[in-house]
C-alpha cells in the first residue's frame, strides 16, 4: 500500500520502531548475555568479558530439564487444546446467539478474568484432591482450560466477522456447529494463533499452582526447575538465573518465529463487498 507518508517520515518511523524494538528486547538480550558470562562479568556489562557455557551446564544438571520439557509440552498442549475447544464453543454462543441469560452468563465468565487462580489454590487443591488428581499434569491444566480471556477474545473476534459468510454457509446447509468449524474458526485464524502463542507462553511460565499441586518430577513443569535460581535467601545469581531462563524460553522463541506469519495473513473481506 502506498500512503501519504513521505520517505523521510517512513524512515523515521522505521528508526522509531527499531529503537523501541531494541529497548523491548533489552531484557532478553541481557539474559542471553548474562547466561554466557561468569558471574563477576554479568553485572558489570563488560563487553570484553570471556564467554562460558558453564552456567548452562550447571543449570541443566541442577534439575531434570528433559523431563520437565516433556511435562511442560504436554501441559501447554493440553491446556491450549482445552482452551481452544471450550473457548471457541462458548465464544460462538456469546457472539452469535441471542439467548436467555446471555448477559448473566457473560458476567459469570468475566469473573474469572478478574480473579487470578493463584488466590484460589487452596480451594482448587481440595477439589483436585477429591478428584484424586493431585500430582498429575491434568491437575495443573484443568483450572485453566475454561479461560475467560480466551472466551472474551474469541467473542470479540467472532462478532467482528462478516455475517454474510455465516449466512452463505447456512444456506448451503451447514449446521451451526458446522459453520463454527468451517467459517468462524478458519477466519479467526490470526486471532487463534495469537491467542495460542499467548496461552502457551503463559502456561509455559506459570509457577505457583504447578508447584503446589505437584510433588514429583513426573508431573512438574519447567518453571519449577527455573525457580531454584530465582530470588533466594542468598540473593540472585543472575548468570544462573539467566541461563535457566534461556533454557526455559528458547522453545517459545522458536515457536514464535515459526508461527508469527500465521497472524499476518490478511484476506478478511475480500469475499464480500
Amino acid at each position: 500500500m502506498t500512503t501519504a507518508t513521505s520517505p523521510f517520515a517512513r524512515g523515521l518511523e522505521t528508526v522509531g520502531a527499531w529503537l523501541l524494538g531494541l529497548l523491548w528486547l533489552f531484557p532478553l538480550v541481557y539474559a542471553l548475555w548474562a547466561s554466557v558470562h561468569h558471574r563477576d562479568a554479568a553485572t558489570r556489562l563488560d563487553l570484553t568479558a570471556p564467554l562460558t557455557f558453564d552456567n548452562f551446564v550447571t543449570v541443566w544438571n541442577g534439575a531434570p530439564f528433559d523431563r520437565y520439557y516433556l511435562n511442560t509440552i504436554l501441559l501447554v498442549c493440553g491446556i491450549l487444546a482445552g482452551q481452544l475447544v471450550l473457548g471457541t464453543l462458548a465464544a460462538y454462543a456469546f457472539a452469535r446467539f441471542d439467548f436467555a441469560g446471555k448477559n448473566i452468563a457473560f458476567a459469570l465468565v468475566l469473573v474469572q478474568l478478574m480473579i487470578t487462580p493463584d488466590i484460589l489454590i487452596s480451594e482448587n487443591y481440595s477439589t483436585m484432591a477429591r478428584l484424586e488428581l493431585v500430582d498429575t499434569i491434568p491437575a495443573i491444566g484443568l483450572p485453566y482450560i475454561a479461560s475467560a480471556f480466551g472466551i472474551f477474545l474469541l467473542r470479540q473476534t467472532f462478532k467482528s466477522m462478516p455475517i454474510e459468510l455465516d449466512e452463505a454457509a447456512e444456506i448451503e446447509g451447514c449446521s451451526r456447529l458446522g459453520r463454527l468449524w468451517r467459517v468462524y474458526v478458519p477466519l479467526a485464524k490470526p486471532t487463534l494463533v495469537a491467542y495460542g502463542l499467548v496461552s502457551v507462553s503463559t502456561h509455559w511460565n506459570n509457577f505457583l499452582w504447578p508447584l503446589v499441586i505437584t510433588n514429583s518430577v513426573e508431573a512438574r513443569p519447567l518453571t519449577v526447575g527455573l525457580s531454584i535460581y530465582n530470588g533466594t535467601e542468598s540473593g540472585i545469581d543472575w548468570t544462573l538465573m539467566s541461563a535457566a531462563t534461556v533454557i526455559v524460553v528458547a522453545p517459545l522463541l522458536v515457536a514464535f518465529l515459526l508461527f508469527q506469519r500465521q497472524f499476518v495473513q490478511s484476506f478478511m473481506r475480500a469475499g464480500i463487498r
Binding site: P162, L165, E170, I171, E172, G173, G178, F267, G271
Partner: protein, 379 residues
C-alpha cells in the same frame, strides 16, 4: 414439487433514530414449481429482503413463507435446501475458488470425486476453469461474481435464489450466462427467484415477473403482459429501457393535447367514454413508438436536448416544454444536432393512458387488443 410462496409478508427493521422502518408491507409472491420468477423494482424496494426471507436468513415480521405448500417460517435456513447467489457474493475469503464452489457439497458429504467433477463442470460453465486455485482476493469483480454463481449451480437445491447474479459481467458473458442459466433451470426443473435490474434478463428469462415498489408488489405478470399492459404509470415507467415516457395530457374539444407545440393526439374512444372530470390524464408513450417526421401535424414537437448514439439505435431526448421531455429511440445511428427543432410521430396503438392523480391505467384502454404486438419484418 418445489414451489415457493410469500404470503402477506411484512418486514420491519429497527432503524437508528426512526425507531423502525418497514421495508416490506405485506407482499405476496409465488413461484410455482419449475418456474423462473424475476423480481424487478427500483433500488431499495425490498427485493433482496424478500429473497432473504425466503432463504430464512431474515425472519418475516409477520406473514408466512411456504415451500412446497408447507409453512417454513420456523425452519432454519440450513434445512430449507435452497441455493442462493448473494448480491455481495459472500465468498469465503480463506478458501480457493474450487473450495468455495464445493463448500456446500462438502457439507453434504458428497464424495470427493463427484464434487470435484461437479465443481469443474460449474466452473467451466462460468468460465473460471483457469482460476480454481485462486483466492477471492486474487480475482476480478466479475470473476468473484461468477464464483458465487458457480457455487449456487453445483448445489442440488431445487429452489435457487439469485440476487443480481450477472450484474458485473460483460455483455457477451451475460448473454451466454443467461442462456446457460435458463437451460439449466429448465432441464433441472429448478424454481428460481431472480432479482435483476437488467430489462433484458427480466424479459428473456422470466416465466413471470414481479414488479416491486416501496415494499409492495406493484404488478405480477408474464413479461410480455407487463410490457404491453402495465397496471399503472409506475410500472410502465419502470419497464423498458429507456422507460416509457409519461406526459401530462389534457382533453379538449380538438383532441388530446400534450405538452409543447405539437398537434396533439386524437382522443381515443376508450378514454373519451371514461369521463374525466377535469379532462386531465397521463399519457404513456414508449420511446420506440416515437419516430422523426416532417409532418407538420405531428402530435409532438420540440428541440433536441441530447442525442445518444448507441450503435444499433439512437436515443433522442427532446424538450417539449420547460420541464417536459420525451425520449425517442430511433433505430440505427441518427445524427441530429443538439438544439434542432424536430417533430415526432407517435404510433397511436402503442399509447397508454393513465389516471393523472392515481397513476392507474385507464380501464378503457384495455379495449385495444395487444396493440404493441405485430408479426413480420417491420423495418
Amino acid at each position: 414439487m418445489s414451489d415457493v410462496e410469500l404470503r402477506a409478508v411484512v418486514k420491519t427493521f429497527p432503524d437508528p433514530g426512526a425507531g423502525e422502518t418497514t421495508v416490506l408491507h405485506g407482499i405476496d409472491i409465488r413461484a410455482g414449481s419449475g418456474q423462473f420468477v424475476v423480481l424487478l423494482g427500483p433500488s431499495g424496494c425490498g427485493k433482496s429482503t424478500s429473497l432473504r426471507i425466503v432463504a430464512g436468513l431474515e425472519s418475516a415480521t409477520s406473514g408466512d413463507v411456504l415451500i412446497e405448500g408447507v409453512r417454513v417460517n420456523e425452519v432454519p435456513a440450513a434445512k430449507r435446501h435452497i441455493a442462493m447467489v448473494f448480491q455481495n457474493y459472500a465468498l469465503y475469503p480463506h478458501l480457493t475458488v474450487l473450495e468455495n464452489i464445493v463448500f456446500g457439497l462438502r457439507v453434504r458429504k458428497v464424495p470427493k470425486a463427484e464434487r470435484e467433477a461437479k465443481a469443474r463442470d460449474a466452473a467451466e460453465r462460468v468460465g473460471l476453469e483457469a482460476y480454481l486455485k485462486r483466492r477471492p482476493s486474487q480475482l476480478s469483480g466479475g470473476q468473484r461474481q461468477r464464483t458465487a454463481l458457480a457455487r449456487a449451480l453445483v448445489s442440488d437445491a431445487k429452489v435457487v435464489l439469485m440476487d443480481e447474479p450477472l450484474s458485473n459481467l460483460d455483455a457477451r458473458l451475460r448473454h451466454q450466462m443467461r442462456v446457460e442459466l435458463r437451460e439449466l433451470q429448465r432441464s433441472l426443473g429448478l424454481t428460481v427467484l431472480y432479482v435483476t435490474h437488467d430489462q433484458v434478463e427480466a424479459m428473456t428469462m422470466a416465466d413471470h415477473v414481479v414488479v416491486m415498489r416501496d415494499g409492495n408488489v406493484a404488478q405480477a405478470a408474464s413479461p410480455v403482459d407487463l410490457y404491453t399492459d402495465p397496471a399503472d404509470a409506475g410500472v410502465a415507467a419502470f419497464i423498458g429501457s429507456p422507460p416509457m415516457n409519461l406526459l401530462p395530457g389534457r382533453l379538449d374539444e380538438a383532441g388530446l393535447r400534450l405538452a409543447g407545440d405539437g398537434a396533439g393526439l386524437p382522443i381515443p374512444t376508450a378514454v373519451a367514454t371514461h369521463g374525466l372530470a377535469d379532462g386531465r390524464l397521463t399519457v404513456g408513450v414508449r420511446p420506440e413508438s416515437l419516430a422523426l417526421t416532417d409532418d407538420a401535424a405531428a402530435p409532438l414537437a420540440g428541440t433536441v436536448r441530447l442525442s445518444e448514439i448507441l450503435g444499433a439505435e439512437t436515443l433522442l431526448t427532446v424538450d417539449l416544454a420547460p420541464g417536459e421531455q420525451v425520449v425517442a429511440r430511433l433505430p440505427g445511428i441518427v445524427r441530429v444536432a443538439d438544439g434542432a427543432h424536430v417533430r415526432l410521430a407517435v404510433a397511436h396503438d402503442d399509447v397508454r393512458y393513465f389516471d393523472h392523480t392515481s397513476g392507474r391505467r385507464l380501464a378503457g384502454a384495455d379495449d385495444d387488443p395487444a396493440p404493441l404486438e405485430r408479426t413480420g419484418n417491420a423495418r
